[in-house]
Amino acid sequence: MMPMLTDCYANPSGAHKMAREARRHLDDARDVLAEAVGCAPGDVVFTAGGTEADNLAVFGVQAARGGSVACAAVEHHAVLLPVEQLGGKIIGVDHLGLVDLDNLALQIDADTSLVSVGLVNGETGVIQDLVAIAEVVRTHAPSAVIHTDAVQAFPWLDVATLAAPADLISIAGHKFGSPKGVGALIVREGVSVSAQQVGGGHERGIRSGTHNAPGIVAMAAAAAATVVNRDETVGRVAALRDTLADGLLATVPGTHETGVTSGGGAASRSGKIAGSCHICFEGIESEALLFLLERDGIFASAASSCSSGAQDPSHVLAAMGYSRELAGGSLRLSLGHQSIESDVAAALDAVATSVQRLRETGS
């Protein structure tokens, strides 16, 4: 990335030598990313991040094809709000957060032009079965295209395989190591998407705007490194996550782990990505917990932060049937490829101490 800032800083759309050099790096990046996501290079539409990719998918397909749109109730707001704005259908989920296939079948029909279900949920880390979802969509809404927000999935899952049933795929570089502000929408050949931002006609006319060349190059490099290391990272981090989650369940009473099947242990978490530990604590408020954890050097989150920085009540947990009260005590501990055992031990200790303190003070 750095040479793109210091030596090869020309606009890749330019005609001169340095521009052509920048263009070459951009095209290389497109090839690398396409392979990592499992699409043709020409399918990659670079964007300024995941939100833009999601908006482009929903608004762009609806603008191009008309019809109605639908998404799961647990989608990121970048999908949920566009669908709501278009008066679309919201598909219910079960207690694990998995799309209710019967409800899906009921809510879509021949008029449906787009169904959007994220491969992995951003809050709970729960993985959706896109193959089963695609089957229902093909049966009940044969002309619909399938979009998946794979932003949260890419660091942990073989998106090329698991998102194969999707016609449109969103990714965001910052989730796997690139700087923030760069992402992509994969638009498979033959899928019509109307531009939501017009101008110089970049990215096959679907997304105009000068390329963020350093960001794109960085995202491709990070994607390649992620794919190479993914199996090793997932195995190691999943073990750490299991230590953390099992430890919390064992030491803190009134603890509910979301998105897991009963039985406990690693087996119960097979439906979640490795880096996600998502817990609800009875009788506490997340904001207070986050405050105390920060003092102990644990930087975590609860649901999603709104623009003010306050924690908003989780629409994901509400859709999964959690009470507002229990959902208000949620904690999202994310692990990454750099996480080590001592991090887990520190988090376990800090969370257990803080939860106990909050319960004692009754706040």
Binding site: F291, S308, G309, A310, T361, S363
Partner: protein, 344 residues
Amino acid sequence: MSAVPVLVAMSGGVDSSVTAALLKTQGYDVTGVTMKLWGGVQDSGCCSVSDVEDARRVADQLEIPHHVFNFGDDFDEFVVQPYVEAHTRGQTPNPCIECNRHLKFDKLLRRATALGFDLVATGHHARVVDTGSGLRVGRGADTGKDQSYVLHMLTQEQLSRVVLPLGDMVKDDVRALATELGLRTADKPDSQDVCFIAHTTGGRQNFLESRVELTPGQVVDGSGEVVGSVDAIELVTIGQRKGLGVSGVVAPLYATNVDVSTATVTIGSRRDLVVERSPVRGLHWVGRAVHGEVDVQTSAHGSTSLGSIEDGEIVWAAPTSKVAPGQSVVFFENDLVVGSAIAD
């Protein structure tokens, strides 16, 4: 000795900005917090995104940590919903008092305890005065900005943990200090009106309409004759002159009574609004009951009138304007809050 931790409620306005700055100067270990109370669209008050931003940037400048707490559910339950219900009963609510009672000095105070803070500071223009026989809310030095009325209900336990650094300052000095410190909020206008009601989108009527069905009412004169109508009986306050749908009269007419059960507003002259006694409920004395005359304040920025409390009524020293039911009435002695009640 390590610095005393204090949590400062920062709304993003100039008063709470200066409060944080003063406490930092005085050597406290200051943490700023902005309460996100309201998610709706509003153009005034204290929790739009730009207000949170102002608070955060002032905290950055003062090099203190800043957090945002979402108390939206509590705000709706304890402030907004009771506000709506009071209107449907034909009462005049004071949401700022309820916000202070339930949010700033209860929810936030409890949160502070849990997080290890004994003290909570706000930018109110009022004082906490130790009389030797208990703590009292005292009037702020700036009589025009004094907020002791909206803090009158603080308990001894609450007062023992509340810091009000602006009590001895006048507003001009607060702004001057903010300017001197280069705080971005120095020239920010004072907040006005009810913070959760946007005046760009139809104000109180639109807001109430979004929550309850409003009732059209008739306007009658002193003899009971119907002389006009109003769109919403819930929006009429005693003493109101405008919007009563009365035309063709020479002398000014005021709403002198509002009866929600029959959806009737009675109008009359200024003289009909004048009373010698005002019934109250929920009488509370901070210390010993005061027999004899006290200064009585019946609205947030109103002047006081002398009165004594006898048998559940305020007996005014001189006839005064009727108090709208639901309004808090606060009793002062020597500029200290000594008691309160609700107008009936």
